[in-house]
Symmetry: C2
Subunit: 739 residues, 2 copies
């Protein structure tokens, strides 16, 4: 599909391994993608983004070439010198190979060949790594995952130069390095190679891509179908098992990004080596869907930080840079170009050049972010990650509703959790993982103890906490056994909603949540949130709100702790919360509010409950003897009794503009909230100051096919399914329901 | 000087009042200037920045025209409806006038004329404002300052249309509005008009500009020379008294910006109406210097937030936008164009178009930020604000050394305070003011009580605190009486330094500080900081370090408070600090360190003391019953005894790159610090791991002309003045000293 480039015979091989991109070492300063800011890549006028990226790559590779490349005997575990050096060397082999293909300059051929030759000398002398993890045997690294990643890069570099190596060079590299390593990662590591897990995908990719490069079908077939070639393991099985039909990955967006890399790289090799497999069409095109899903799982350029997630990761990562390039090559979807323009650099591959040329030709279109339900589970029946957006723009309001499965060992106990973004900013947020990736003084860069004691706990999320304990009592394997039920989803822009319930997170408690995003009179959106816990026994129901920014005003009768702070609780994450303020005795049905400032925008949360409410303000940091936690704030609403029902509305308003010295703050636009019953349904009413009303109708009967009818203001209102949304603007009104 | 524009007869009058810009209402989202980001203004290709700004202005003014403009009877104080409406109306008159001059479209003429006519009906009916501040009488507003600002805008709008009004229209507006208002602000308000203060400058500008517009010399002369025209008051006197010879304004950068507006506007009017006064050359061109100084007083686009300062203010403010346009018109300095490119919009004046044309012609050059000493006081003898920078780039390292006077009632008790910036980020910071400007629920947007109890206090700054009290015991008038002595300043890039002392901030204590910025082996800079307190009596000496980011590692033996937090002290700001960790008994001479992460960069502070050290980690927020404070962290070093000497070195290093998944953290590059004596001098030695040494030499004899000689490593080292800097890279070395 790709046209040869200006240097014929290079870079576009008609047979053998296709060429894949890792990304350039960025020459610009690392800057989070900011939807307010200009696109991330910039090239001097007359130079394409690709030229610009290649110039930076040349400079970087030339520097390494001048310095010489050390190929040390393996000693260190993750983060240590030999570990990082071997990681870097694989990229250098790859990058030199790419530059050779692109430029035809023999210095890059020689450079790649020399490093490969050094490894060919070293590899046969190695036993297992001195600090090897016995469960994943490895030689260059302490774990097999890194060894597989090494081979994925190195074999691409080799493939890029092999036609111009001598027979002697080729046989040395293949016989002493590539084949032994591929054997070691396949037949030598069956427990990893045949595992349905992203480590298995990396191993399959490494072995399979080596097979294509060396013309060794045996490797290719084992990689595709498992060591016994039965199809019970191997890449095809992994594609079938690890993604949902919508391209969702059970561990969440952060790990989806990581898993995507070997899937997409190997799939591209398969597409060229075995085009009749039509791998990108396999299972309804799930690999393409997975790339798009991962882009949709971002806001402000960063992944939704659910589960164990490093919050900085997003569209700028190496994985997404070439995933976008490959996806554009496959689909020609011009909206992917605008994503590439936000990235820091362009991958040094034919797909990268194609991206860059299309951008230069002005083909870029805005990427349309959308409201969507990404079903979870191989069969799509293990809940869903639901996103509601107020529009397709990157800075439109977005509400993330996490009604997914547990997400395995990296999952958090946050079923039916909520995130809220607007105007390019996080407004109500997820802590992400308690981890400083690869920062040696922070427990070697691993997950910190506070990841388990805080970040995974239910109270660290914007979801219901029962009896100050975590869902499934903090047992992820228990959590893995149960999933929420999606009750409703409607993606109508301006009047979207979703609902889900879970009855297994807390013994004897049914937890239901309805979220909606509805256009607000005068612009912007209301985010409406109904949280309902029900039980036969009395409980304490807490609803944490992890809001960002600076608290400006609240009508809650808070008393602030001025002379002493103590923790809010003793376990399940509560031990990490300093209790900074406390309010109690807010009567059932009273409408309360809390306003805060983020950058130049105000946000107001208006809320009420069917029960008497108490509230706390907290600051994270108690029982943190190594200062591992960020000192973030939250409000926690508390109701006690057999049942608890919270109705909350979020909105953005006003302006705090210090450049123009204009401040507009008049509080939220909600006059009053009301919770009532009508027949066998709850009616949650938002009454704006501007008149009219917005009603969320939620029937006790959650059967998808049930039809409901109630009287509202002398009108008869009908809807189907558990949830209806009734919007009345004075005399006009409309009702929407699931059909 | 300005050429007429395409619509002859408009916009460039050959006589009368010149045309001045307030800035456009920005159509883009408010975004802090970020040195990493692309320039702030962007225009579609083929459209100049000016065209783009004018299009936005037209849209905004057309909208107001369509809606109609309310001219209400004055009722409200600051922030209320009538207050904000009258403020807005003055801008509307001005903007409509500018658009008429630019486009010749009569709708803008009619719009401005109609509003002016409405005010001409209203004004004669008004007595004093119902909520007037009796010290500054006013009619449209609660204080005279706003009335003067109103007239400055409105008279510019009037001048832009007056040639095309009927005689009847003119006489109504002049006789019922402009003259009565000018009279009221001059002879009617002598206590403000003749005051040497920025309120007086606004009044002079309003009256003087009205004089030029109406051809009324009496107004002009009173404005220039005071009501009695003697020169003891008035604008010329204000230019002489309110700026230092270097263009520094005693209240600091934030108030300098505010004060600059009437100075520059009226000066431009004078330049055209009375060119023989050569106002921009007056006093060595101090007004031009004041503009440049205000730009130099920024980092990352924001003003150094010393004294009472809203931290968001910077180059994007209206004041700076037209100050830059006027300064470029005066000087043709192409580096001002790059500042304009960072701003959000271009002012709708001939100077704005000139800026825009020059940018479009590719004339822009980078603005060179520099190390400099801005002397304080009318005679330049009241200390100085000193900045050391590692280079001219906006993201070069910068160290701000506040050795100025008190800065009147808005001054903070932070003499010899330090700020440190690097890589576009704040690293060691100033809290700024405790205030949410114009945010009504926050005490009406005024300074909060915590501004006095925290933000002004010495412990809120990076400077020496003696006996847990504030400088001058928190009495600003006492502080105003004394200034520091500048002991040294050398702006050599890569080896710059400065020193100052103050003996009056704490009774019986001499406080000296030496700061230096020295190139670091391998790139970047060391910021070296020597703090020395000396007394005949024992004291507690605290050195707070208000660092940003996330603490990563320290070798201090901290014990963290896990179960309870209590305040660190009871007064002078200490009552607001929660004590989160404590370390004690670090022996004299031991080298300690603290590393933290800001964005993708690590910083390490390496430090030692001549005395036994204790240390605290703190978090702001105790005794804050209205949640008015930001919850920021600090480290406070503590030594007790008659004397205390702290030697600190800051540096940036490593990389935390989550896009490339590369982390480099190997701690700071300083092997060891040493404090020793040689003869009658202190020798502060920084020994990098890479070898060599950097020595700050500080003599007991601080006479500027004294010469000193000591032996260092068998070398004889000579320097002049109190401070020398000796840099030895193995066998090479050099010594620098004041000459």
């Amino acid at each position: 599909m790709n046209q040869p480039f200006s240097h014929p015979g290079h870079w576009a091989r008609t047979a053998g391994l296709a060429l894949f991109g890792i990304t350039l070492v960025a020459c610009s300063t690392a800057n989070p993608v900011d939807v307010h800011a200009r696109p991330g890549v910039a090239a001097p006028s007359g130079e394409t983004l690709f030229d610009h990226s290649i110039a930076a790559l040349r400079a970087s590779v030339d520097e390494r070439r001048a310095e010489g490349v050390d190929v040390p005997v393996p000693v260190d575990a993750g983060g240590g010198y030999t570990h990082e050096q071997h990681k870097q060397n694989a990229k250098t082999i790859y990058e030199a190979g790419m530059l050779y293909q692109l430029t035809g300059e023999s210095k890059y051929l020689d450079f790649a060949a020399r490093i490969l030759s050094d490894y060919s000398d070293l590899y046969p002398t190695l036993g297992l790594h001195p600090q090897v993890n016995p469960e994943t045997p490895s030689r260059l690294f302490w774990q097999g995952l890194n060894e597989a990643m090494w081979l994925v890069y190195a074999v691409q570099g080799y493939d890029a130069i092999q036609d111009d190596l001598s027979a002697e060079q080729r046989s040395k590299i293949e016989d002493q390095l590539l084949r032994p390593m591929a054997d070691f990662l396949s037949v030598g590591s069956p427990q990893t190679f045949d595992r349905i897990h992203n480590h298995g995908t990396w191993a399959a990719a490494a072995v399979g891509m080596t097979g294509y490069a060396l013309g060794e079908r045996d490797y290719v077939e084992k990689a595709l179908y498992g060591l016994d070639k039965s199809g019970d393991a191997g890449f095809i099985k992994q594609v079938d098992a690890l993604f949902s039909p919508d391209g969702y990955y059970a561990e969440g967006p952060y790990y989806q990004r990581f898993a995507l890399m070997p899937f997409v790289l190997f799939a591209q090799a398969i597409e060229r080596g075995d085009p009749e497999l039509r791998i990108f069409e396999h299972r309804g095109g799930v690999l393409r869907k997975a790339i798009t899903a991962n882009i949709q799982e971002t806001y402000g350029g960063r992944f939704f930080p659910i589960n164990d997630a490093i919050r900085e990761k997003g569209l700028n990562t190496a994985e997404l840079r070439y995933a976008v390039a490959i996806a554009y090559d496959l689909t020609g979807d011009a909206s992917l170009l605008s994503i590439a323009q936000q990235q820091k650099s362009i991958v040094p591959t034919p797909e990268g050049k194609k991206l860059s040329d299309a951008i230069a030709a002005g083909k870029s279109k805005p990427f349309a972010f959308k409201s969507q339900k990404l079903r979870d589970g191989p069969d799509g029946d293990r809940g869903a990650l639901i996103t509601l957006r107020s529009g397709p723009e990157p800075d439109a309001a977005a509400l993330v509703f996490k009604a997914t499965s547990q997400g395995l060992g990296h999952g958090h106990f946050d079923r039916l959790g909520l995130l809220y973004y607007d105007n390019g900013d996080e407004v109500v947020a997820d802590y992400g993982a308690a981890r400083f990736l690869n920062v040696e003084p922070k427990d070697g860069g691993r997950y910190l103890p506070e990841n388990a004691s805080w970040a995974k706990q239910t109270v660290a999320h914007n979801t219901l906490v029962v009896d100050q304990s975590s869902q499934f009592d903090g047992d992820w394997e228990e959590g893995e056994a149960y999933t929420p039920t999606i009750l409703a989803f409607d993606d109508t822009v301006g009047a979207s909603y979703a609902a889900a319930e879970i009855t297994t997170a807390y013994t004897g408690v049914t937890y239901q949540r309805v979220v909606a995003m509805v256009d607000r009179d005068g612009g912007g959106s209301y985010v409406i949130d109904v949280v309902r816990g029900a039980s036969d026994a009395p409980h304490t129901y807490d609803l944490p709100v992890h809001f960002k920014g600076q608290l400006i005003e609240t009508n809650l009768p808070f008393t602030y702790a001025v002379a002493q702070l103590v923790p809010l609780g003793i376990r399940a994450g509560y031990q990490h919360l300093w209790k900074t303020a406390e309010a109690s005795g807010v009567a059932a049905g009273v409408t309360s509010d809390l306003s805060f400032l983020i950058d130049d925008q105000f946000y107001t949360l208006t809320f009420t409950a069917r029960q008497t409410l108490g509230a706390y303000l907290t600051r994270l940091g108690a029982n943190d003897p190594n200062n591992n936690l960020r000192n973030e704030q939250a409000m926690i609403l508390r109701a006690t009794g057999k049942d608890a029902t919270f109705l909350s509305v979020y909105e953005r308003h006003g302006r705090y503009d210090n450049d123009e010295e204009v401040t507009v703050f008049s509080g939220g636009s909600v006059e009053r909230l009301d919770i009532s019953r009508s027949g066998r349904s709850d009616v949650y009413t938002v009454i704006p100051k501007s008149g009219g009303s917005i009603r969320v109708l939620f029937s006790d009967d959650t059967a998808p096919t049930a039809t409901h009818q109630i009287q509202l203001d002398d009108q008869t209102v009908n809807w189907n399914g558990p949830v209806g949304l009734h919007i009345s603007a004075g005399t006009e009104h409309s009702t929407k329901g699931e059909n």
